[in-house]
């Protein structure tokens, strides 16, 4: 449908201001950047052109503060098909299949309008993934809220969770896991990071690159409105005066339209019609057309009259900068327009040919019978300023003396009672029961059941080919698509991790730890860690301390990813997360993906059977610095975070995977927040089964230290485990046996699993109910 005819053919008076350096500054361009732009164009830009330059050179699109440092991250491995630079990263998972994934933040919008902010964040990341030809099969999210006592926190939790639930559930993509933490540093600036994992066949992966001159430029999806224009930075009296200008800058999501867009795109992608495709996310039509032009080394000429519009009298500036959701831009093979149109019309979506590619590397925009923009494309991307911002000296925290934080005699249970219901450990059931974790039918383990979510990989991204016949895929090519019943079915393991307190205390070690913990969580399920996406949430990079955090975290992260062969294949940088000069904790979230060849071998975290031996893999706990115990029981965030020994992470990770592969262990949980004590309690609660522990040790650091590279496993086959050669090289300690209704300690203390569950489950619902 094309409603161009309904729109006035002569330009209304848009009352656009004269372009001066001051107007440029309002758009976020500093004096040097403004001068550089004038130099590139060789004349004063039009209002539309200024808008395009400023948004392409914004931090969000150009990564101007982070790019120098991101370049240092490892992004390659033999199984990496596509690293950073496309809509999402791609890895090979065998059998001609690929996993495509990315994590992205929607922090500021979610603080302003939690429901729509979170919903469109989830919608945006799913679009990034299915733009590449992948069927999204799992979502996870990493949420950080302010202190529970802060007056806005409850409202924000409520809205964000409802928004995530609304969009993901309606799309029919299961939300299978994630993490939620609370800390006063997020009081004025919450974090909403959403990750989507999809699958595609190798020969059906689509990229933004690849377009050539004289090919049709096609717009599909929702109509363009005035929502989200130029994010929140735009300030222009002309727009503020009018009603249109007062619309909120947060976009409104429509998951139903996106579901249609998903199905229509995947249907189209079964045919050989698309040359290049880019979703319209941040900076909408501007960034999508510039990306396609730049990556193809071509130009694009658009007839903006032909863009499907939601409201009349839109200016070229508004059309180019709108962030209306659920839209895509694609370059089609010439002559395929009608066939493609038929598919989109079947799904009742707008489809419009809005221009053609050219050979002059210019972005040319025509509307109302005149040209509003004619600028060279390469400088928008290549000449975007890059800043080597100064990273100041970062003072690390001092070590602490463990002796000062000893446990009183016989206080293990009392300490556990305190820990198990603290906000970061308390069950997040209230949240994840609002997420459809089961749709598609391939979920093995979701939230609370294992260290990483386990989702079976369908045999074909077009689910209709997998399990039904019919008109959804009328021209299906059967053959390799049918399930191979003789072969075990593969599954993906997915997790998100970060300990921001560690990152603040020691950015290098914190960045390293986030990767190590992700690696551990994947290994704990028996899966092989393959690659990660990162979501780098930091404060204002123009401040030296923040830049030091950023550079430090990336250094640690890079080192860990290199050593663990766990490359970063996609990601997102979110800077300026501060309110009134108060920055958030540095929060570089790692979204990890692993592969397990046979889903039946995937391990849960809960105790499974009575009478099994519980084993600690790794050294005894000895490090209390920055532990959750210090924070919750002593009210202190002090000390150094635990050391990260990547060699041990590597060895023990592969050892755990080997035990899982041989079927020698029945459950596995990594030791992280709350140390061994909380780990054992979580295993007991998840399995609804107690244990009798035989360890004679009263040290706080033993029970609550968060030393790295450690796992707790259960087995009914201790003899065979000890007989393995690895048992000589890796320290293992028998902790006790599973069974009964209580967690019993060697000193005679005991607590019932029911009580633990009650304490653990009660905190969040009580908090949300205002109790």
């Amino acid at each position: 449908m094309n409603n161009a005819a309904a729109i006035k053919q002569t330009a209304p008076d848009f009352n656009e201001p004269a372009i001066t350096p001051e107007v440029g500054a309002q758009f976020g361009l500093n004096a040097d950047e403004f001068a550089l732009m004038l130099n590139i164009i060789g004349r004063t830009p039009s209002f539309t052109e200024l808008g395009i330059f400023s948004v392409m050179w914004s931090e969000h699109c150009s990564y101007k503060s982070s790019r120098l440092h991101l370049k240092k991250l490892p992004t390659e491995a033999p199984w990496v098909i596509q690293g950073p630079g496309e809509n999402a990263g791609v890895i090979d998972i065998g059998d001609n299949q690929a996993a495509i994934f990315k994590m992205e933040s929607h922090n500021h919008p979610s603080y302003i309008e939690p429901f729509q902010g979170a919903a469109t964040g989830v919608g945006g990341i799913m679009r990034d993934v299915f733009t590449m030809g992948a069927r999204p099969i799992a979502n996870i999210n990493a949420l950080r809220f302010g202190d529970p006592s802060h007056p806005k926190t409850r409202h924000l939790v409520n809205g964000v969770v409802a928004g995530v639930s609304h969009y993901g559930n309606c799309m029919g993509v299961p939300t299978v896991g994630g993490e939620t933490q609370f800390h006063s540093a997020y009081n004025g600036n919450i974090l909403v990071n959403a990750m989507t994992v999809g699958i595609a066949d190798h020969d059906k992966i689509y990229y933004a690159r690849g377009a050539s001159p004289d090919q049709p430029v096609v717009y599909v999806g929702s109509k363009t409105g005035r929502d989200g224009i130029h994010g929140a930075t735009m300030a222009s009296a002309e727009f503020e005066d009018g009603v249109e200008g007062n619309r909120p800058t947060v976009q409104v999501g429509d998951p139903f339209t996106e579901k249609l867009l998903l199905e229509a795109c995947l249907e189209l992608m079964q045919e050989d019609m698309i040359i290049s495709i880019q979703d319209m996310g941040a900076a909408g039509l501007t960034s999508s057309s510039v990306e396609i032009a730049d990556k193809g080394g071509i130009g694009v000429e658009l007839d903006l009259d032909a863009v499907p519009q939601r409201e009349p009298n839109m200016s070229p500036y508004e059309i180019m900068l709108s962030e209306s959701q659920e839209r895509m831009l694609m370059i089609l093979k010439p002559g395929k327009e009608d066939e493609a149109r038929a598919i989109f019309e079947k799904w009742d979506l707008d489809f419009a040919v809005i221009g053609r590619t050219t050979d002059d590397k210019h972005l040319r925009l025509n509307m109302y019978g005149k040209t509003w923009c004619d600028i060279p494309v390469p400088p928008l991307v290549d000449d975007a300023p890059i800043y080597d911002r100064k990273a100041g000296y970062y003072k690390l925290q001092d070590e602490i003396d463990n002796a000062a934080y000893a446990l009183p005699k016989d206080s293990l249970c009392e300490t556990l009672r305190q820990m198990i219901c603290c906000p970061d450990i308390a069950s997040k059931r209230w949240i994840w029961e609002q997420y459809d974790r089961l749709v598609i039918g391939n979920t093995k383990y979701s939230s609370g059941q294992s260290d990483a979510a386990i989702v079976l990989i369908p045999c074909h991204p077009d689910l209709a080919l997998d399990a039904g016949e019919g008109s959804r895929a009328t021209k299906q090519k059967d053959s390799s698509a049918s399930p191979q019943n003789d072969k075990p079915q593969k599954a993906l393991a997915i997790s998100s991790d970060c300990n921001p307190r560690y990152c603040k205390a020691d950015p290098v070690r914190g960045g390293m730890q986030a990767v190590a913990e992700s690696y551990r969580n994947i290994c704990a399920t028996g899966a092989k860690p393959l690659a990660v996406t990162n979501n780098l949430n930091f404060g204002n990079p123009e401040r030296e301390q923040i830049m030091a955090q950023f550079v430090g975290c990336l250094e640690g992260m890079g080192e860990a990813c290199r050593k663990l062969s766990y490359p970063i294949i996609s990601g997102n940088v979110s800077l300026y997360n501060e309110t009134s000069g108060e920055a958030i904790l540095p929060t570089p979230v790692i979204g990890g993906v692993g592969l397990i060849e046979d889903w039946e071998k995937a391990l849960p975290l809960g105790f499974q059977n009575d009478g099994e031996t519980i084993i600690l893999v790794g050294e005894d706990g000895n490090h209390l610095g920055q532990s959750l115990y210090l924070k919750e029981v002593h009210g202190k965030e002090i000390g150094t975070p635990p050391k990260v020994d990547l060699e041990s992470e590597l060895n023990r990770g592969s050892y755990i995977r080997m035990l899982a592969e041989k079927g020698l262990i029945t459950a596995c949980h990594d030791i992280s927040d709350g140390g061994l004590l909380v780990t054992l309690a979580e295993m007991a609660m998840a399995g609804h089964k107690g244990a009798a522990l035989i360890i004679k040790n009263a040290d706080a650091a033993y029970w609550l230290g968060e030393d790295q590279a450690r796992y707790v496993v259960t087995t009914s086959d201790i003899g065979n485990i000890m007989a393995l050669p690895e048992a000589q090289k890796i320290k293992m300690t028998i902790l006790g046996k599973t069974g009964g209704k209580d967690l019993k300690f060697e000193n005679g203390e005991s607590i019932s699993v029911d009580e633990l569950i009650d304490l653990n489950e009660r905190w969040l619902p009580d908090y949300m109910a205002g109790k």
Binding site: G172, F256, E433, A464, G468, G470, S471
Partner: protein
């Protein structure tokens, strides 16, 4: 034995349903696009879960007026077996093939969790293999699953053995605590008077595969497949 699963724009559990059908009878069902009016003369029509047309109006209300539904109603009145789950149940209510209404959950939130269901009527083609009072443990995933019928309607449903499933605890007790969405008389699923139509909010199709938490939903599919074989 032919099964047609109707796919509306916004339907999202057709794949889950197709897997369950294939597991129960070894034969792939046919997916019928909502714009088609040829159902393919099925023995069983399934209306699966999802958010048809976005469910921005009352859930299932738009789908109830879709062209394909006219054919479904004709088939239903001729005795063709119809299974509507979740959004499909909402459609059956909206077309008035089944009585009552489905309201917002009493929690006012979407609920996705495993629920115990007690089989109230095992003397139907859908429930024969489950057995009277047998308990199945299947997930719900809905925002509007709070079944409403007034006292007279509930009495009428009971009098005609139309209540197929009730929410119960693990021991089979019909308790308020087990009734997470607030349904009248703990009703989770109902039949029409002829017993050729079953509508239910919970998802038995998500309890049919080895990797799912349990397979207690499978006998429901096996029952209807056997009955129609």
């Amino acid at each position: 034995m032919k099964t047609s699963i109707i796919v509306f724009p916004g339907t999202n559990r057709e794949h889950d349903m197709a897997m369950a059908v294939e597991t129960a009878c070894g034969k792939k069902p046919q997916l019928v696009w909502h714009k088609d009016t040829d159902l393919g003369s099925p023995d069983l029509i399934i209306l699966p879960g999802g958010f048809s047309y976005g469910d921005y109006l009352r859930c299932g209300a738009m789908a109830a007026h879709s062209p394909v539904m006219k054919e479904v109603i004709v088939a239903a009145n001729k005795g063709t077996r119809i299974l509507g789950v979740c959004n499909g149940f909402q459609m059956l209510i909206e077309t008035q093939l089944l009585p009552g209404a489905l309201l917002r959950n009493k929690t006012l939130k979407f609920i996705c969790k495993d629920m115990h269901l007690r089989t109230e009527n095992a003397d139907t083609e859908f429930t024969r293999k489950l057995g009277k009072n047998s308990i199945i443990n299947v997930p719900v995933a809905h925002g509007d699953g709070n079944y409403f019928a007034n006292d007279d309607m509930v009495k009428d449903l009971e009098a005609h053995d139309q209540i197929a499933f009730r929410y119960c605890d693990a021991q089979g007790q019909i308790t308020e605590a087990a009734n997470a969405n607030g349904s009248s008389a703990n009703i989770a699923g109902i039949l029409n008077k002829n017993k050729n139509i079953l509508g239910m909010m919970p998802h038995p199709e998500n309890a049919t595969q080895n990797w799912q938490k349990n397979k207690t939903g499978l006998p429901l599919f096996e029952s209807i497949m056997e009955a129609l074989a």
